[in-house]
Symmetry: C2
């Protein structure tokens, strides 16, 4: 039986290799450069092995996105603990994440439509990130439902992040925008 375990271990290592390679390639040259051929070349296997791990290219990107959600959750947690005002800290950390890891943020939100949210099989990392936001919002909720208010706050952050990233909003006064948003919460 140990043989199968070793094989399974090797499989999972290779799966990590694929996901990491996809992320590195995307961070180096953008998601357009992430093709199955280039990915296969980078991991030194042939194309078809990708399909023995993932259903298709989208699934690989979704795996990168899940990693991204885990990192985002970790950074939000750290920011909530460290900042004088948790909500400010979390919001700043969120915008910083989107700004410094654009490739991850794209995978998480712009691409990969079929990641289950608010479902039984939702990856834990996704829930965790939202949880961090909710705990930061809760003290400011007043009579409002904290969960729903968190959704609104998250949407505002997401909007700021994506509109800025897409060149729709000039980057320079982002701090001012964030201040106005926080003042209203």
């Amino acid at each position: 039986m140990a043989i199968q375990e070793r094989r399974e271990r090797a499989r999972q290592e290779r799966e990590r290799l694929i996901v990491d390679a996809a992320r590195e390639l995307a961070e180096a040259e953008g998601w357009d450069a992430v093709t199955t051929r280039r990915l296969a070349e980078r991991i030194e296997y042939s194309q078809p092995v990708l399909y023995s791990h993932f259903k298709g290219k989208d699934a690989i990107m979704a795996a990168v996105a899940v990693d991204g959600f885990a990192e985002l959750a970790a950074e939000l947690r750290a920011a909530r603990g460290a900042a004088a005002d948790p909500l400010t800290g979390v919001a700043t950390a969120y915008l910083a994440f989107a700004e410094t890891r654009p490739v991850l943020y794209e995978a998480m939100f712009t691409h990969s439509v079929d990641l289950a949210f608010a479902r039984p099989d939702t990856p834990a990392a996704l829930q965790a990130g939202f949880g961090e936001l909710r705990e930061a919002v809760r003290p400011r909720a007043g009579d409002d439902d904290p969960a729903v208010l968190t959704e609104v706050f998250w949407a505002a952050l997401h909007g700021l992040a994506t509109l800025t990233r897409g060149g729709r909003l000039p980057r320079e006064i982002q701090e001012q925008r964030l201040a106005l948003l926080l003042a209203r919460f």
Copy 2:
């Protein structure tokens, strides 16, 4: 000289034909189905004709997006005039636009990164839509800069629209979210 004018007119008609065909095809089968081959077939010309009008496929999508901005601006204007509370009306109209014309909204915000915003050559329709939002926000701005506050409000709406569209937020309680957002403005 009249001959050149006639030709120019025909060219512009064909350009409209291309943009409309792209939009119709996208609305019928999604943007993935909009390929240069299928588009050429639909307008009953060969592929290279497309490239005598537009630099590439992205430019065609950008043209559809500009049409979208014009429609959005028109709907926001109507909503601002008709609603009891302008801000509520405009916000509702914005979310309704994203919900009922997902294909246009995608072209405007998810794709086509290289539409100039806040630049000399920014299409007027883009400015107009933002102007409608700004006029609706202004009475609620208090001591805040209305333009910046409008950006924040727009970002919040955009976030709600995209997160809902991507399945990140369940659609059912969108009205409740909008109420919470409006209450904070």
